[in-house]
């Protein structure tokens, strides 16, 4: 195992429809906030890693070059990490590996996206191979909805109960977004609103799906040596990382029990020494662009047994005041600038264990899980952080 690594600071933009700024200025907004928060400056940094969704999203290829100035990266080693929806967690992993290997002490990690400038689902569809599958996947909602549909039928779950549980998740996350100053969608919705909204990709309706957001997130990772040198006591130590991919073709692997999600979580739990995640985790930031899919993740991550999630959701087990609060930030459901979204999950997990999550702080949170997923139902990544080394 490499040397210990901690997250020492977070900067986020106000996420939303940000046609008031050009893309580089949006990125810089997050970076400037990070430096204001930490009191450090770009001269202190050993390297920079950033990432986005495919270039077709905004029509600029290799954005880490475009944003070299906005990230103050000139004269430093620079990397881009791109794993579709899981990009943000992969950026965090890259920063972790970089420092843990001993090659750097302070790494700036930046995720960003400006989804309102292009056509997000047309972009997403280019992730699928062009001969056969691209005709049918219908963007992200198409494949992920099919997966949720498969899951609910696999476990013989009553359609109405699953529908209610998904609506409950939508209502509670939309409420939580009001406590997150950076969240995009801030609307009060009722169970009835969610259940009668327009069908987008059955079973997903309009209020079961995330928005197109513009936003950026910057996170500073430091070695244990640097944490000591700076005399910091409120940091988020990286306790576990996990990442798994699957075979490419949608249809080749079972998606109802999503093996890459199971495997990524298991790898991270093994590293963090976690045996009973529901008891040992204090909060989780699960990547949840679709309400139905969030329940599958609870099961894949061992928060509950297979097919049990809807009952526990309706009991409030994963609500803000429940046994394992999930997405107190409002999650991806309310804010999704995709290249930033996974890193926002990690940033939010870090803020929770540092006690800096403000109005959506889970009192006394010491251990938090962050997650992101992506590809044509293909990749899952996890990072677990804790307040103690």
């Amino acid at each position: 195992m490499g040397r210990p690594v901690a997250i020492i600071g977070v900067g986020q933009t106000n996420h939303g429809r940000r046609m008031d700024v050009c893309y580089p200025d949006l990125v810089r907004e997050a970076v400037v906030r990070l430096y204001e928060e930490t009191g450090l400056n770009p001269d202190d940094i050993d390297g920079v890693v950033s990432g986005t969704m495919p270039s077709m999203m905004e029509g600029v290829a290799l954005t880490h070059f475009y944003f070299a100035d906005a990230m103050k990266a000139a004269g430093k080693p620079i990397l881009k990490t791109e794993t579709c929806g899981s990009t943000g967690v992969s950026i965090a992993h890259t920063a972790y590996y970089w420092i843990s290997s001993g090659m750097a002490d302070l790494i700036l990690a930046v995720g960003h996206e400006k989804m309102n400038e292009g056509d997000s689902q047309a972009t997403m569809t280019t992730v699928a191979e062009p001969f056969y599958q691209r005709y049918f996947i219908a963007g992200a909602p198409g494949v992920f909805s099919m997966q949720s549909q498969m899951w609910s039928v696999r476990y013989g779950l009553e359609e109405e109960k699953v529908r209610d549980a998904a609506a409950f998740i939508s209502v509670t996350h939309h409420d939580s977004a009001f406590d997150n100053p950076y969240a995009h969608i801030k609307i009060r919705v009722s169970m009835e609103d969610v259940k009668t909204a327009r069908v987008i990709t059955y079973p997903v309706r309009l209020l079961d799906v995330c928005p197109n957001s513009d936003g950026a997130c910057a996170v500073l990772f430091a070695s244990d040596t640097m944490v000591k040198k700076l005399g910091l006591n409120k940091v988020a130590w990286v306790k576990g990382v996990g990442y798994r991919g699957e075979e490419y073709y949608f249809g080749d692997s079972d998606k109802a029990v999503w093996q890459s999600a199971v495997g990524a979580a298991q790898q991270a739990y093994n590293m963090a020494g976690i045996k009973d995640p529901r008891k040992e985790l204090d909060v989780a930031e699960v990547y949840n662009p679709f309400t139905f899919q969030e329940m599958m993740f609870y099961e894949c991550f061992g928060f509950c047994g297979l097919g049990e999630a809807p009952d526990l959701v309706l009991k409030g087990t994963f609500a803000r005041d429940g046994e394992l609060p999930c997405d107190p930030s409002g999650g991806t459901l309310c804010t999704n600038p995709i290249g930033a979204t996974g890193l926002i999950r990690t940033a939010e997990a870090a803020l929770q264990v540092m006690g800096k999550a403000g109005d959506h702080q889970i009192p006394g949170a010491k251990t938090a899980l962050s997650h992101a997923m992506g590809g044509v139902d293909q990749f899952n990544g996890i990072m677990i952080v804790g307040s103690e080394l």
């Binding site: 029509g59 689902q121 001969f131 099919m146 069908v199 073709y249 249809g251």
Partner: protein, 153 residues
Amino acid sequence: MAKEFKTIKTEIRLPYELAYGATWTKFFEGMENEIIYGTKCSKCGRVLVPARSFCPRCFVNTDEWVETAQEGTLTAWSYVNYSYFGQPIKPPFIGALIRLDETDVDFLHLIGGFDLSDFDLVRKTVKNGMRVKAVWSDERKGHVLDIKYFEPA
């Protein structure tokens, strides 16, 4: 009222010519002749469809060709009711995973052949595990849409 800032409309169009290679070429020749080709892995014995040049699990070449059944059962589906730029199929449509008989992976395609305009009717018609069969287009071009859709059998 916040000040409004200017935007610029732009676009990027690039032509491509993508190589199919031998395996996809034969698969699409099959489509033109109302044949769905799969390949069988000599190591794990799975029949993969569409045909592959190698088994992604065993990482060995798959050169045993199989004409698969044109009927199967529905594994999963989604009623797609939104659109995006360049969408190849006009919504509403139903994307579906179909397990063709005697194959070992799900084949992604469409189900149809009935009224898709009313979602509540669709919900009553479509059930996981239902039997479906391929319906071919009269004008086939060696393309995956030579199968118009799979209809309830």
